[in-house]
């Protein structure tokens, strides 16, 4: 089973099942993590599903759209490895993807 590794705000690392075809945001939400708000449900209208991706894994991900880039700019916690987890659709090639939930603004 492909794995998604999620680090929550308290620094704890969790391993959950990665579901192919599902946005990482939904996988995080569906595993009951409350640290992430994901308010707009993936409508690309907020930045409340902000995560940091394992730096060496960034290249595995699809390029960022202009919208995602702009929305991430609304966070004062943005880093070089910031992504919106609603924009990363999980698949087998992402087995072992490690995302860290970013703090809310």
């Amino acid at each position: 089973m492909p794995t998604l590794i999620v680090t929550t705000l308290d620094g704890t690392e969790h391993r959950v099942e990665g579901v192919t075809g599902r946005p990482v945001m939904e996988i995080i939400r569906d595993n009951g993590f409350t640290d992430m708000l994901a308010l707009c449900g993936g409508a690309r209208s907020c930045a409340t599903c902000h995560v940091y991706v394992g730096p060496d894994q960034l290249a595995l991900l699809p390029d960022m759209s202009e919208d995602e880039n702009e929305l991430l700019d609304s966070s004062s916690h943005r880093k070089i490895n910031s992504r919106l987890s609603c924009q990363i659709v999980f698949n087998g090639a992402l087995d072992g993807l490690h995302v860290t939930i970013a703090p809310e603004d």
């Binding site: 939400r29 009951g32 409350t34 449900g41 409508a43 907020c46 929305l71």
Partner: protein, 410 residues
């Protein structure tokens, strides 16, 4: 002995669900129950008129939390249960014949869709869009519908119209006012959306008065306008706003005329009774201190946080910046602030490019932005709205100026 919980939350929508989750996230160890009148666990409402209606997302993908979340966190979910009365003296609510005690009560019951009262309003095929059941009824009707009439050109009505037209239905939107989105946006945005819907084959009728709905064998067969014209249809979607569900609160003595009045901490006038979300009439700093209700996910979530903080003894007033979104066709509208009562606006960018923003002013100050396929303006305009900035019209209309650079220059 009646059942009792330290916190009873009435309403399992965005606000109620978030309040319960936040209590636990904040380390609250008392007993918590959510009482909701729908049969499902809490789910997202915005997709009901968009991705869920269109069949792009199944129901489990719009659940706000996984089904096991509630029991895992020790949150009692009383679904299919309607609170009909509150007794603030004994601190109890009456629900489905039971009496349930509360330490704190969070009223997050939202509202019921306003319904038509004209002849034919009860025919099969006259539907609203508020609940999963509503959306399911519309999906079930889809196959046998060739033509649909949408009553009300607000966001819900227009989103439903977009989905129906995508499914190849002949759609007519009846708007009683002289433009769509009249209650929530400025004229340029209204005209843009009217043109977009017309380009997709939707017949937008302005200043249109519905006289009655015609039926055959108990089902909708047409909509008749005040001038006598009959528009044949098998489905009537009613999107004319909501009536806040607050009757038990008001009957118990809570203050309120449009919804229930709350203070900056979401407290009603009843002791230890809070109200949040669509039904909570609050003084909003983005409406020049006027008392308003806001029907949005943002408001439900942020007021949930306000109520929870107050209950946990760390009160902080509600000051959140309003934001909202609406997706229709390939148009992504993002809104910041509140444009109600604006006295001036500037269009930034060319609507013909289908990427532009409308910036609204009240008394010379920027109070809101409507951004169509213009996420950069939406993100960068936030500070202008939050500051109530006074920016020169020509400078803000000039798209070569980034909005983020205009605040310091103001």
């Amino acid at each position: 002995m009646p059942r009792a919980y330290d916190v009873v939350i009435v309403g399992g929508g965005h606000g109620g669900a978030q309040a319960a989750a936040l209590l636990r996230q904040s380390g609250f160890e008392g007993t918590v129950a959510i009482i909701g009148d729908e049969p499902e666990p809490p789910y997202e409402r915005p997709p009901l008129s968009k991705e869920y209606l269109a069949g792009e997302k199944p129901f489990d993908r719009i659940l706000l939390r996984p089904r096991v979340f509630w029991s895992d966190r020790g949150i009692e979910l009383l679904t299919g249960t309607r609170v009909t009365a509150i007794d603030p003296l004994t601190r109890t609510v009456a629900a489905n014949g039971d009496t349930i005690g509360y330490g704190h009560l969070i009223w997050a019951a939202g509202g019921q869709p306003r319904r038509l009262s004209c002849e034919g309003h009860a025919l099969a095929g006259v539907l609203t869009v508020r609940t999963k059941a509503d959306a399911d009824a519309m999906k079930a009707a889809m196959d046998r519908v060739d033509a649909a009439v949408v009553v009300g050109g607000g966001y819900i009505g227009l989103e439903a119209a977009a989905v129906l037209s995508k499914f190849g239905k002949k759609v007519t939107v009846l708007e009683a006012q002289s433009r769509v989105l009249a209650r929530v946006a400025g004229e340029p945005l209204s005209r843009f959306y009217e043109a977009e819907h017309r380009a997709h084959g939707v017949d937008i009728r302005l200043n249109a008065q519905l006289r009655r709905i015609l039926g055959t064998d108990g089902s909708v067969s047409g909509a008749q306008l005040a001038d006598g014209e009959v528009i044949p249809c098998q489905l009537v979607v009613v999107g004319i706003g909501i009536l806040p569900s607050v009757a038990p609160l008001i009957a118990a003595g809570a203050a309120g005329t449009n919804g229930v009045d709350v203070d900056a901490y979401c407290r009603t006038s009843l002791p230890d009774v809070y109200a949040i979300g669509d039904c909570a009439a609050h003084v909003n700093m983005y409406m020049d201190g006027q008392r308003i209700r806001l029907e949005s996910v943002q408001n439900a979530n942020d007021q949930a946080a306000t109520a929870v903080k107050a209950i946990l003894g760390t009160p902080a007033p509600y000051t959140a910046t309003p934001w909202f979104w609406s997706n229709q066709y390939d148009l992504r509208l993002q809104t910041l602030g509140l444009s109600t009562g604006h006295d001036d606006f500037v269009i930034r960018g060319d609507p013909a490019t289908r990427s532009f923003s409308v910036i609204y002013f009240r008394g010379g100050r920027i109070v809101a932005l409507d951004c169509v396929n213009a996420t950069r303006d939406y993100v960068q305009g936030r500070k202008l709205v939050e500051a109530g900035a006074t920016v020169d019209r020509a400078r803000i209309a000039d798209t070569t100026n980034a909005l983020k650079d205009l605040l310091t220059a103001a």
